[in-house]
């Protein structure tokens, strides 16, 4: 029903080079893997090229430069580039095929590859390319200094760049089909990298779990895409987002469209680790820390959000007004439930990376809630004609996208900082306990002993030992908590406010709205708890007392990201929230200072009494109640004679004071059934395991029975039958010549009689 012609032509110098952003890492993948096989053990390869790390680095750098050129050109206005009017590069025909349409004719179809650039693309392109480069830098400091990785880092870097290729491809591609293809490439790399230490059974099973869980979502995504194809006759954005095509579909199959989008949303739930498909993400921390930082915190888990954000044109379409509000509610509700659940589980985690993993789930859930609310507003309000409504929708959608940006930056940094801590604790442990057996294959033993370098039990008081890491962690935590003026504050307040705005229209939304407000306090608690347990107080043991500063490869990205996170206030001032979602807004339109004043006024002195109070309640919960509780329980001075940077000193002193003044005994809670349930991840994994055992294993047993009984049985019956027949035949061969003569005589006689009888 829809034409697949792409008519938009845009004069752009760098758009034609955009495929290189994807292709360069893909080529680097093959090169690193091949060279790694050839040069393993070669000192030049190992020391100078860092086992491929220094091949990956310039490639990611080139991808970032090309991305930045494209972005700057986009911002400088090759500018019919608005949300619903995107730039589409000339498509490279990839597959020409024909689809039988049920009659006697066939419809010719061509699947081409094209580049699609709009505001969402530009934002995610920057996030992905920038973080890929930084985390690549971090990896060189993290992976290449650990002997356990010797001679297999090439595998890490190869899979790493392939992942980057998948992520950048997903962001840039111009159809849901290509989105799905790159989506699966990322899934594959995620699987391979979680199982990087495949000799550890826990890593191998975590990899399998991640792959299978996301695969469940992907099956639904695929069904959703097929349904979408059925409705539109194409999966190209240019076709499915076309207003006339949407109108055409809305006339008689709006319900089917809602189902298609809903099934696609299940795919997003799997990829972004939301309830009920969240079980894979905490286990995925078995992978090396750079992988956790890039794939399982900053980029791949955003793929699900990107997919949902891509559905916005459907929700915003006039023709579909009011038809998709149930789906918008489901999106927001899934987000709200996950936000609270993950935050609660994060309360009791001892593993540094697990805290961050649950925090990732919780924050992604915030973004889902934000998107769900924005979709609801876009779907119910008459925002195409009403200026006020237009503003509300744009700000709601923008807040969710801005939180995606802030969270990716902050969480990438937090994971790298946690990696830095783990790396140094690990080295300190190694230094103290394996002092004399250097050089005799110690690489094998130090991951097997009882010492857990990721447990916060083995840290404490590290603020003086690792000042840059501690600062990065502090800024990152503050951003995630939404402390006023820092990073995530700008976007999180927006999400909470919009959730409550929608709740006023539709009482169903009280669920997600309450969840995100409650989640703000919970985030404040678990992030502070993590920071104080790790960096404040006295070292918990001898090992933590001997931790040293980390190396430059690790410090550099932390340093850069600290500033990026802090500069979120500038992005807010430039009007990022409006720009990311509005097709008529330019970055920095109001001017930086004026924009900033506008944003501040809006955040702290809202003219609407309800939102005025809500803002301060949220700030109070997130910045006072949560951290205050954490300080009372876990705060403390550094050890005697330890000094830290001036900006961390007041935080630690405040925590020590609160701890002294308000400390209370929480052992009653720690021993309660709720705490036990949280430690066991609310038993969800166990229920899944049981369901698996009963359903899947039961089915497998039946299938195995059918195999051995029916199929094998038939073959065995044929075999034994022919054997017994042959033993009967064999008994006739006696080996005695006389018997043979008799047989010949009798046989001849018989033939003779036959002939005689016939004649």
């Amino acid at each position: 029903m829809a034409s697949t012609e792409v008519t938009t032509t845009i004069q752009s110098e760098w758009l034609d080079f955009a495929p290189l952003i994807i292709l360069l890492p893909m080529v680097a993948f093959a090169v690193i893997l091949f060279l790694g096989r050839v040069f393993n053990g070669n000192p030049f390869w190992k020391n100078t090229l860092k086992e491929g790390g220094l091949i990956a680095l310039p490639v990611m750098g080139a991808s970032l430069v090309l991305s930045l050129l494209l972005i700057s050109e986009f911002l400088g206005g090759f500018n019919p580039l608005k949300v619903f009017d995107p730039a589409v590069a000339d498509k490279i025909a990839w597959v020409n095929s024909a689809v039988w349409n049920g009659g006697s004719t066939v419809t010719p179809v061509s699947f081409g590859f094209g580049i699609y650039v709009d505001h969402v693309t530009v934002m995610l392109l920057f996030v992905a390319a920038f973080l890929c480069l930084l985390i690549n830098t971090f990896s060189i400091g993290y992976m290449n200094t650990d002997p356990i990785n010797d001679n297999r880092n090439h595998r890490f870097y190869a899979e790493f760049v392939l992942f980057c290729s998948g992520m950048l491809g997903m962001v840039l591609s111009d159809s849901f089909l290509w989105l799905f293809i790159f989506w699966e490439i990322m899934g594959l790399c995620s699987y391979l990298l979680i199982g990087f230490y495949y000799e550890r059974p826990s890593a191998a099973s975590a990899a399998k779990k991640a792959f299978m869980t996301t695969r469940i979502g992907d099956v639904f995504l695929m069904i959703g895409l097929v349904m979408l194809w059925d409705l539109f006759g194409s999966l190209d954005y240019a076709v499915v987002f076309d207003t006339h095509n949407i109108e055409e579909v809305a006339k008689h199959s709006a319900g089917t469209l809602q189902w298609a989008l809903g099934l696609m949303f299940i795919g997003a739930v799997g990829k972004s680790a939301q309830f009920p498909l969240h079980v894979w993400l905490p286990d995925a921390m078995e992978g090396p820390t750079p992988v956790s930082a890039l794939i399982h915190a900053a980029t791949m888990v955003n793929a699900g959000l990107y997919l949902v954000a891509r559905m916005f044109p459907f929700f915003g379409a006039e023709a579909l007004q009011g038809d998709l509000e149930d789906l918008a509610f489901i999106i927001a509700a899934v987000g709200g439930i996950t936000a609270v659940m993950a935050a609660a589980i994060a309360f009791v985690q001892m593993d540094l990376k697990k805290v961050l993993a649950y925090s990732t789930m919780s924050q992604l859930a915030y973004i889902f809630t934000g998107l769900g609310c924005a979709m609801y507003l876009a779907n119910t309000l008459d925002w195409h004609h009403d200026d006020d409504a237009h503003y509300i929708v744009v700000v709601a959608f923008g807040a969710a996208l801005f939180h995606l940006f802030n969270h990716a930056m902050a969480k990438g940094m937090l994971f790298m900082a946690s990696g830095s801590v783990i790396h140094e604790v690990h080295h300190a442990h190694h230094h103290l306990h394996h002092h004399d057996d250097h050089g005799d294959g110690h690489g094998d033993d130090h991951h097997d002993d009882d010492f857990d370098a990721q447990s916060m039990e083995n840290m404490g008081g590290l603020a003086s030992k690792m000042p840059i890491t501690a600062t990065a962690m502090l800024v990152g935590s503050a951003s995630i908590m939404g402390l006023p003026l820092i990073g995530g504050f700008w976007s999180k307040e927006g999400i909470i406010a919009n959730a409550w705005r929608v709740a006023q229209d539709d009482p169903r939304f009280f669920l997600p709205a309450t969840c995100v407000l409650l989640g703000a306090a919970m985030t404040g608690f678990y992030m502070s708890r993590m920071w104080f347990k790790t960096f404040a107080g006295k070292p918990n043991n001898e090992i933590a007392a001997h931790v040293g500063p980390t190396n430059t490869w690790i410090k550099t990205p932390l340093f850069i990201l600290t500033f990026v996170t802090l500069s979120s206030v500038i992005f807010a001032g430039l009007g990022f929230t409006h720009w990311a979602s509005d097709n008529s807004y330019e970055l920095g339109e109001k001017g930086l200072l004026k924009g900033l004043v506008y944003e501040l006024e809006h955040a702290f002195a809202n003219s609407d009494a309800f939102f005025f109070i809500l803002t301060y309640v949220a700030i109070f919960l997130g910045a006072v109640v949560g951290p205050g509780l954490a300080m009372a329980l876990y705060g403390g001075k550094l050890a005697e004679g330890e000094e830290t940077k001036p900006w961390m000193r007041p935080v630690i002193q405040l925590s020590a004071w609160v701890n002294k003044r308000f400390h209370f005994d929480n052992s009653a809670f720690a021993e309660s059934t709720l705490a036990t349930a949280l430690e066991n991840r609310l038993y969800i994994d166990e229920y899944y395991d049981k369901a698996m055992v009963n359903i899947v294993a039961g089915f497998s047993n039946k299938a195995a029975e059918a195999d051995s009984e029916v199929i094998d049985g038939t073959i065995k019956a044929i075999e034994s039958g022919s054997q017994s027949l042959s033993s009967v035949v064999r008994s006739m061969t006696t080996g005695s010549a006389r018997d043979y003569i008799l047989m010949v005589a009798v046989g001849t006689l018989a033939i003779f009689m036959l002939i005689w009888g016939v004649a």
Binding site: R730, S731, T733, T734, G735, S736, A737, R738, I741, L742, A745
Partner: protein, 100 residues
């Protein structure tokens, strides 16, 4: 001239004697002699038939059969020698390697 029917009867008698001998004797050489006897019985039958029909074709067959029988005896004896080399006997009851 002898009645061909009598010759046929003699031939049948010789064949039966040969067959019986081939069934019952153990010694391979005797069995071979019995087979020769059966062949000669057949030759005799050919000759008798030739006389009876006044056709020389039967004579020709007889001559062929005698030549072939001679070479067959040579081969048979050579086989017995080889069997003796393997089994140190040519008693048919003891040579049964093809059993089952």
């Amino acid at each position: 001239m002898i009645d061909p029917a009598l010759v046929s009867a003699l031939s049948a008698l010789m064949f039966v004697i040969g067959l019986g001998g081939a069934f019952t004797r153990k010694n391979a050489i005797i069995v071979l002699m019995c087979i020769e006897l059966m062949l000669n019985a057949a030759n005799m039958q050919f000759a008798a038939a030739a006389v009876h029909h006044g056709d020389t074709t039967g004579w020709v067959y007889t001559l062929f059969a005698i030549a072939i029988a001679a070479s067959e005896v040579a081969i048979g004896l050579a086989i017995f020698l080889a069997v003796y080399g393997q089994h140190e006997t040519i008693s048919l009851d003891d040579v049964d390697v093809l059993k089952n």
